[in-house]
Amino acid sequence: MSTQVLEASPTPPQERPAKRRRPRNRLGPPWLFVAPALLCYGAIVLYPSASGVLYAFTDWSGLGGWSFVGLRNFDSLLHDDRALGSLRNTLLLTVAIVVVQNGVGLLLALGVHARIKSRMLLRAIFFAPVVVSPVMVAFLWKYVYNPAPNAGLNGVLGAVGLGSLRQDWLGDPSIALWSVAAMVVWQYAGYSMVIFLAGLEGISKDVREAATIDGAGPVKRFRYVTWPLLAPATTINVMLSTIGGLKLFDQVFAATAGGPGYATETLSTVLYKEAFVFGRYGYSTAVALVLALFVAAVSLVQIRYLRAREDQA
């Protein structure tokens, strides 16, 4: 199951009715089965997305008429410090989230996979934030990041004698982006954990016992046995967190709204503001198109690269 995404790549259909030249396959389900899905998907996703692509090349303001402006929106994007900054922020956030969320997720998975007594309870605790609304998690973390010296994280740092590390976590432009990343990691590390855990459970005990008998210690066992066999889980985790990071909106919108200044602005918050605050619909869809291309490109590159890694393992 967990490797399905990799099998989704083009494999041509195997069975082919052979008897007549144009057989009416009466045993295959009729078109009526797919018609509602096609209709709904077409109306809600395909048609609006295609229009979105079209509007990216216009000066539409949301009201009244529009005319084609060629690549002007993309040209303005290249000269828009705010949009470029948001692109940079989005990429930095994504890299931070992918690395830390999966690193923490892997450590948690290894921990709760071991024979400790609290493993079932800990699994539930680490996973619970995944099912809660990101907006609510962001509001909770807004308090954790409270700048007051005796509240939230600062209060804890003070209580354990690390008062010098107190920060204005979301108000200081140089660290706000990393604070947002930490909040996302807190919420979704449990998600990476359960996927790694499923991978760990799929590794046969015999393999590890064989390595132990051959004299491999825990580090070598992990490096040469466990880690290569976790490749499918790593693939899925990296893909999920990359796409999630690129599209990040709810958490930023609720915690910082892109501020202070533009310090935590992402592609998603910029395109929201362009459309619904400044009324520049054409420009906003150009930003959306850039985001779409990034997501699509990253997905394709990752699928290729990570599949190659799996083949080696």
């Binding site: 899905a37 996703v45 997305s49 921990g111 309870l121 800990l122 099912v131 809660v132 609304s133």
Partner: protein, 274 residues
Amino acid sequence: MNRYRPRTFALELLMVAAGVAFLFPVYALIVLSMKDAGQIASSPLGLPNPPTVDNYTEAWSEASLGSALLSSTIITVASLVLLIAIGSCGAYFLARRATRLGYGLYILFLLGIVLPFQLGMIPLYNLFSKLELIGTYQSMILFYTGIQLPFTIFLYTGFIRALPADYATAALVDGASHFQAYTRIVFPLLRPITGTVLILNAVFIWNDFFTPLLYLGGSDHETIPVRIFAFVGQYVSDYGLVFAGLVLGAIPILLVFLLLQRYVIKGFASGLKG
């Protein structure tokens, strides 16, 4: 390897410490929600003394969470029913039609997993406002059905392909209609994947924020995340009240999670949705 050794105990201590640190925000959430403004100012992180439930009663009525709970439930349940109904039979067609066209259609559906919804966000909003659907349950139900179909079809198609076609064929040979063969034979066999589809889509729809804010913000049909967002905006500095609202808003889905823990974790571990 399987015995509980001193090293296992050390790991246990380490993991429990990690769990406690992880729970700090939740601790803050709960103690603050049970304090009045004075206690929050004087000792924000100490235990509430005495604890109060006033924040909870006030948050429940001020945020009208009862009606938000109803809206969220209606939208989530209706979207799931539609998604499972039209997604599974669409996938059945795609999995069993071994033609070039059937395969092309499958790829067309998969494209929807990669496309960010923001690309079509504004044209779709305009379409819904032309149809006068903004502010209605229908707009959200249609939206979720469309936007989650690619992922739903992807999961179902993979599952159906691995399923022998013989059962349905036998029913057809015996004179059942395609519809009968599907509802009586095929669909019941899909139960495991239907569980995964149900859990992943339910969590996504229940917690989704941006589109319901756009379509339902300010109407009587606001969902829980939208209601909480407005509520927090209104009482932003009153942490006790805000946190009571957050606890109340998170309880329904956390309760479902605790009851169905095993299935939820299995669903997330096997599926692939971010």
